[in-house]
């Protein structure tokens, strides 16, 4: 039971870090709180739904599609909203309200077009591309069912989502530390005004970070129907709060800390779920407040950040 809770916690935690990392990138670079984060996830889930119902292929193909679409949407949205917001008196506070408005718009439009019913995707559809390749190369029969780790069976979508999250966070790391644009991004993160003064095109860097943040949220959304069972247009609000808990755990403004925050959150959540299930809902919030008060900079504080 303990092993199960721990492994499930790590799997969920990796997925949760993917949920949070986009939000954190946006906050770190622009000091903007993207309250529409959960709604972008919800749209990502609808992309997966569209891929399955229209094309009838593995929802994994929705991952690159969702990422590219929301990368473009995010970049456009940045130019429409953010420069004007940054010019106002208190952008950090006003961004909370602005993006709350955006989340309302997204939720309303989705409701108008898709209705309020719960939608889900059959979990065996996810990862069919893997079993097909396996059958082609090694023969044998396509097998579905739980994946065994440490002698315990876990639903295959959990493992696939955790794996994708690992890859995505690895790519974020490569982007931030191995590319030129990533270096500039880190410069803007640590000192926006100095970056501006040294001739960095802050708006371009920020637009890229905003697009990537939204793209990552949409990718996380692709797996949401599998991780949470089903999806409705109203899913966004709860997802945003959970993302916040994770991001603050890991420390706001440090995208890689989010990976740690996600795993800590996932493991704690599963442990409490297993042993004290009626208190499980309370945990993320108490954890969040405690961390904020005891270590306002998160588990990996600003000082530790290599930026």
């Amino acid at each position: 039971m303990l092993t199960y809770a721990l492994v499930a916690g790590v799997l969920f935690g990796l997925y949760f870090s993917l949920v949070g990392v986009g939000l954190n990138l946006v906050f770190g670079v622009m000091r903007i709180v993207n309250l529409a984060h959960g709604d972008v996830m919800m749209l990502g889930a609808f992309v997966a739904l569209g891929v399955v119902t229209l094309a009838g292929i593995d929802p994994l193909f929705a991952v690159p599609l969702a990422f590219v679409v929301f990368l473009l949407v995010g970049t456009l949205l940045y130019w429409v909203l953010v420069p004007r917001l940054q010019g106002s008196a208190n952008p950090e506070m006003l961004s909370i309200i602005l993006f709350f408005g955006l989340s309302q718009v997204v939720e309303a439009i989705t409701t108008i077009f898709a209705g309020t019913s719960e939608r889900s995707i059959q979990s065996r559809l996810l990862g069919t591309v893997f079993s097909t390749i396996k059958v082609r190369l090694f023969g044998g029969k396509p097998e579905a069912g739980p994946i065994r780790i440490l002698g315990q069976g876990f639903p295959a979508p959990w493992v696939i989502a955790a794996g994708t999250s690992l890859v995505a966070i690895g790519l974020v790391y490569v982007y931030l530390y191995r590319t030129r644009l990533g270096t500039l991004t880190r410069a803007v993160m640590s000192r926006r005004d100095e970056a501006l003064a040294s001739g960095i095109d802050v708006d371009r860097v920020s637009a890229a970070a905003f697009g990537i943040g939204l793209g990552l949220a949409a990718v996380a959304g692709v797996f949401a129907p599998f991780m949470f069972g089903s999806i409705t247009p109203a899913f966004g609000a709860d997802a945003t709060v959970t993302s916040f808990a994770i991001v603050v755990l890991g420390s706001l403004g440090n995208p890689l800390g989010t990976a740690l925050g996600g795993v800590v959150y996932g493991v704690c959540y599963m442990l409490v779920q297993t042993y004290l299930s009626s208190w499980a809902d309370l945990l993320p919030y108490v954890l969040l407040i405690l961390i904020l008060l005891l270590r306002p900079s998160g588990l990996l504080g600003r000082q530790v950040r290599v930026a």
């Binding site: 909370i96 309302q104 009626s278 008060l293």
Partner: protein, 306 residues
């Protein structure tokens, strides 16, 4: 005539008078009660956000805690409704005291921590393990104290208290000191303002009115679930109403509630998703084009708005 007297005579008295007379001529009493509740909450947000700059994203926590304070007193001690309402205010203040460490955080961190705190209180109240005290997620039913018309006038009294508090903040050196702290805490403290004490006073005042409003809400509706009284809509609506009118003024939040909540009731119930769309666009437009609220249309022209 000093400004404070003018503000009381021309804003507070007409507002209370209109809402005291309206139940006689307008049949939808629940709607009127909701208006009064949101007026209280928007002014409560005004006290903490407008005058100190802390955005209380989990403001509903005090409201819900007040409602449950009322419920627990009535259910377990059979206390009269008015006593229970006062206790609800006390519960709000106690929760505020418990959360004072949050004031150490700033900006978005405070807003998020406050949101988390309100959700923590919700999940504590709704916990099936505490069914003996709060009835957990199954909701409470307080038929013994049910008396909507008394509750309505109690809400009016709290509204008068709250608006009076804002009038005081607007016209006193205390309010001026608070605004100085909001603009620049270091300079204010150099000028001899006790920053911590000031902030805590405003925070507790704002918690008090939300607790009282929650208690009266419980009295009025008498049957409710944790999800009703801790609904995030209360925080969001109160914040948006206050901002829409313009914070750090007396009239701003009142104008915001009357216009936006009025619009909500005109189109909100028949087609909620279209309303949500309009509402979202309105909020975005507000932040982008009128970040200081409707009253800034007048102040920009140099007119003084109380």
């Amino acid at each position: 005539m000093p400004n404070a007297v003018k503000h009381v005579l021309f804003i507070l008295v007409p507002l209370i008078a209109v809402f005291a007379v309206l139940p006689g001529v307008y049949q939808n009493h629940l709607l009127l009660f909701n208006f009064v509740t949101f007026l209280i909450l928007a002014q409560g947000v005004n006290i903490i956000y407008g005058f100190t700059g802390y955005l209380p994203f989990g403001y509903v926590g005090f409201f819900g805690a007040g409602a449950y304070g009322f419920a627990v007193l009535v259910m377990h001690y059979q206390s009269p409704a008015l006593v229970a309402v006062l206790a609800a205010g006390l519960v709000g203040v106690l929760l505020g005291l418990l959360l004072t460490p949050l004031l150490r955080l700033s900006g978005a961190y405070f807003a998020i921590a406050n949101l988390a705190a309100s959700l923590a209180v919700l999940h504590l109240v709704a916990n099936p393990a505490l069914e003996g005290i709060t009835k957990g997620p199954y909701g409470v039913s307080l038929t013994g104290t049910f008396n909507p018309s008394h509750a309505y006038y109690a809400a009016l009294a709290v509204l008068a208290l709250t608006v009076g508090g804002v009038v005081f903040l607007k016209n006193s050196s205390f309010g001026l000191a608070l605004q100085a702290v909001r603009e620049d805490a270091v300079s204010a403290s150099m000028a001899g303002v006790n920053v911590v004490k000031m902030r805590i006073a405003a925070w507790l005042a704002s918690a008090l009115v939300a607790g009282l409003a929650g208690g009266i809400y419980a009295w009025y509706v008498s049957v409710f679930y944790p999800d009703n009284v801790f609904s995030g809509d209360f925080s969001i609506f109160a914040i948006v109403f206050a901002l829409f009118g313009g914070v750090a003024t007396i009239s701003g939040p009142i104008i915001g509630v009357l216009i936006l909540y009025g619009v909500y009731n005109l189109i909100g119930f028949t087609t909620p998703q279209y309303f949500q769309l309009i509402y979202g666009l309105l909020i975005m437009g507000l932040v982008l084009f009128l970040p200081a609220g409707l009253v800034s249309l007048a102040t920009r022209r140099g007119w003084h708005v109380p």
